[in-house]
């Protein structure tokens, strides 16, 4: 999990530089500051078995779940070999055949889709020990899709883990304009799902709380909602310098960088040494660089070779157009 956090941070810094150098078309949305929450989830999900629907700030979770750097680099650099073949971009990438859903932009809409995947697995008799997980922000909790999807999961008692990363802002909008409850975790009881709260800057706490939520879902205890509190340590996207975030929040506990916290926790508990950490960083930098270099050499999609077909049913084209 820590490795994924570091890897994601380094990968994302690279994406940020590439963006600023004009090498990426489209937006770059980073998970800076949210790596602990994201990776804690990705790390306890089981590839090839669980369903995972990461959102825009989940590079760390993706990495922890096993996504190779090259998938990311290809998406951002528009390689035709990327998971979305240039048809969709960046954070939207997914491999639904491998359990990683390809998000659409409309916030909240993955909640029902993940739940539906779990529902199907139950019908197929394949749900035992499986969980489905997705992440949303504080802003996404205001969508009707979030509500309907979570309620559906609750009615069906599906093993859904819904991580709400409350990073205090939705784009520029502070939580005071987003909801009026004391804490988003107060929503859990209204859906009849378990609610968990965690300081999202606290590496070990994230691992413990999210790990526990996933275990409970896996054990058949029904939907688990985890609300993680932290601050987005970057703009909404890389085009945004987040000038609207008040200093006082940055200076407070939410403003802690989870990677710094993780490092000191790892060191204090003797889980890793400084040298090991350095080695991980260095290796990550090398690997990221290699992935970016490779993706940059790959061809862009070619509109003349593009198969412009939105239906999968081939005969509709053969016969009619």
């Amino acid at each position: 999990m820590y490795v994924a956090m570091i890897q994601a941070r380094i990968l994302e810094s690279k994406l940020s530089s590439l963006y600023k150098a004009g090498k990426i078309v489209g937006g770059v949305y980073l998970g800076k500051g949210q790596e602990a929450v994201s990776a804690a989830l990705g790390a306890v999900l089981i590839p090839g078995q669980d369903i995972y629907a990461p959102l825009i700030r989940d590079q760390a979770g993706r990495t922890a779940f096993g996504e190779p750097f090259i998938d990311c680099a290809r998406a951002y650099l528009g390689s035709s070999l990327g998971p979305m073949r240039g048809r969709d971009g960046n954070v939207h990438r997914g491999k639904p055949g491998e359990g990683v859903l390809a998000m659409i932009s409309h916030l909240g809409s993955a909640v029902a889709v993940v739940s539906g995947s779990l529902f199907a697995k139950r019908l197929k008799g394949e749900l035992d020990g499986v969980v489905g997980a997705t992440c949303v922000g504080d802003g996404a909790t205001s969508t009707g899709a979030f509500h309907e999807g979570l309620n559906f999961a609750a009615v069906e008692k599906l093993p859904l883990v819904l991580v709400v990363t409350n990073n205090q802002f939705a784009y520029s909008t502070p939580t005071s304009r987003q909801y009026a409850c004391a804490d988003l975790v107060d929503r859990a009881v209204g859906y009849g799902v378990a609610g968990h709260s965690v300081d999202g800057t606290d590496f070990l706490a994230c691992a413990a709380v999210i790990g526990d939520a996933v275990s409970r879902a896996r054990a058949g205890e029904g939907p688990q909602m985890v609300v993680a509190r932290l601050l987005r340590l970057t703009g909404h996207g890389e085009h945004d310098d987040a000038w609207y975030v008040p200093e006082v929040i940055k200076a407070g506990n939410y403003g802690r960088d989870c990677i710094d916290v993780a490092e000191s926790q790892l060191l204090v508990h003797g889980i890793m040494s400084r040298e090991e950490i350095e080695a991980i960083r260095e290796q990550a930098a090398v690997d990221v660089q290699a992935a970016v270099a490779q993706a940059q050499q790959e061809p862009a999609p070619d509109p003349y070779k593009e198969v412009w077909q939105a239906w999968s049913t081939g005969r509709f084209y053969a016969e009619k157009e």
Partner: protein, 322 residues
């Protein structure tokens, strides 16, 4: 013994549940209750654990279906009325419809939409939304007009790998009868000549096929005009070849539909015909749709909001006299 259009829909679902373990049904009040229109009557008992009541959450219902389809299932979702799919619009057009193009993985869901007007149903239980969905790349939109089509096209819809909007017309549910469910089993994407003629072609679909046939019979009796009626069967894909072949014979086109007049199926039909068959036309192609207001509640207003045999005859007379 005769069977109805709604019987066909129920029967098709029974067959699908029986023959394909990937199929399940999900919708409001469709389990024990058998659905607002009884399209799933008895199926929950016959197929335990495969027919489910949904909360009043159309957006999540479609989202659920997408997730299930990605896991290899073939969900059939019943909207209680097509009109309520407006709150599932996003999941349909942005999630289901785009998925194959974006990821290469198709989303085989079938969304049953009880569509179209009936007396006294009013603005929110009468809508025809086929054009709304057909605008979006990636969806298949079918509009069966006969008992046999309701049956065979529902079965075929579920077998298709693409998301299908299955527009079933409420007016036909119990009114339309046939001797059996068996028909010619034309595939989705192919139109049918419902009635042959040589003076003008009416291109239409769903309940309006029957109104067009009535109008054609009336004109034949009254003045000997022979009107050809083409039933599109699916509005996306749209079988322009059959339409053009008919127009080639008759030289005259009336595109007829029950939906709102701006855009829609009739505009698409006319535009394609003039693009590829301009030289075939002996008169300006015409359109007849509903009036440009919400569907009124009162039966007297409703009857004059949608096209009727009278208004179709009027249009055809104009077309024939050009």
């Amino acid at each position: 013994m005769s069977v109805t259009y709604i019987d066909a829909i129920r029967e098709a679902q029974e067959v699908l549940l029986r023959d394909d373990p990937r199929v399940f049904l999900y919708g409001q009040d469709i389990a024990v209750f058998g659905g607002a229109f009884k399209a799933t009557k008895g199926l929950a008992e016959m197929f335990p654990g495969r027919v489910f009541d949904a909360p009043i959450s159309e957006d999540a219902m479609i989202g659920m279906a997408i997730g299930a389809a990605l896991q290899g299932m073939r969900p059939i979702i019943e909207m209680q009325f097509a009109d309520f799919s407006s709150v599932a619009f996003n999941q349909i057009v942005n999630h289901a419809a785009t998925h194959f193009y974006r990821t290469g993985m198709p989303v085989p869901i079938t969304v049953r939409m009880p569509s179209g007007g009936t007396a006294g149903s009013g603005p929110f239980h009468s809508q025809s939304m086929e054009a709304i969905y057909a605008h979006y790349p990636g969806v298949v939109v079918v509009t069966p007009a006969t008992v046999a089509d309701a049956y065979s096209m529902l079965i075929e819809s579920v077998k298709l790998d693409d998301p299908v909007i299955f527009c079933e017309h409420k007016f036909l549910y119990r009114w339309l009868k046939a001797q059996s469910f068996q028909g010619d089993c034309l595939p989705i994407g192919q139109a049918r000549i419902t009635r042959t003629g040589r003076h003008a072609t009416v291109v239409t679909y769903s309940a309006m096929v029957h109104e067009a046939v009535r109008a054609a019979e009336r004109l034949q009796k009254e003045s000997g005009w022979e009107i050809e009626v083409v039933d599109l069967r699916s509005v996306k894909p749209l079988d322009i070849d059959t339409v053009l072949a008919s127009v080639a014979r008759t030289g005259r086109l009336l595109a007829l539909g029950e939906a709102f007049p701006w855009g829609g199926v009739t505009a698409e039909v006319v535009s394609r015909v003039v693009a590829d068959g301009f030289h075939l036309l002996e008169a300006p192609p015409m359109r007849l749709n509903s009036r440009d207001t919400p569907v009124p509640y009162h039966p007297k207003l409703w009857a004059s909001h949608r096209p009727t045999p009278e208004s179709i005859c009027d249009s055809l007379r104009k077309l024939l006299s050009y």
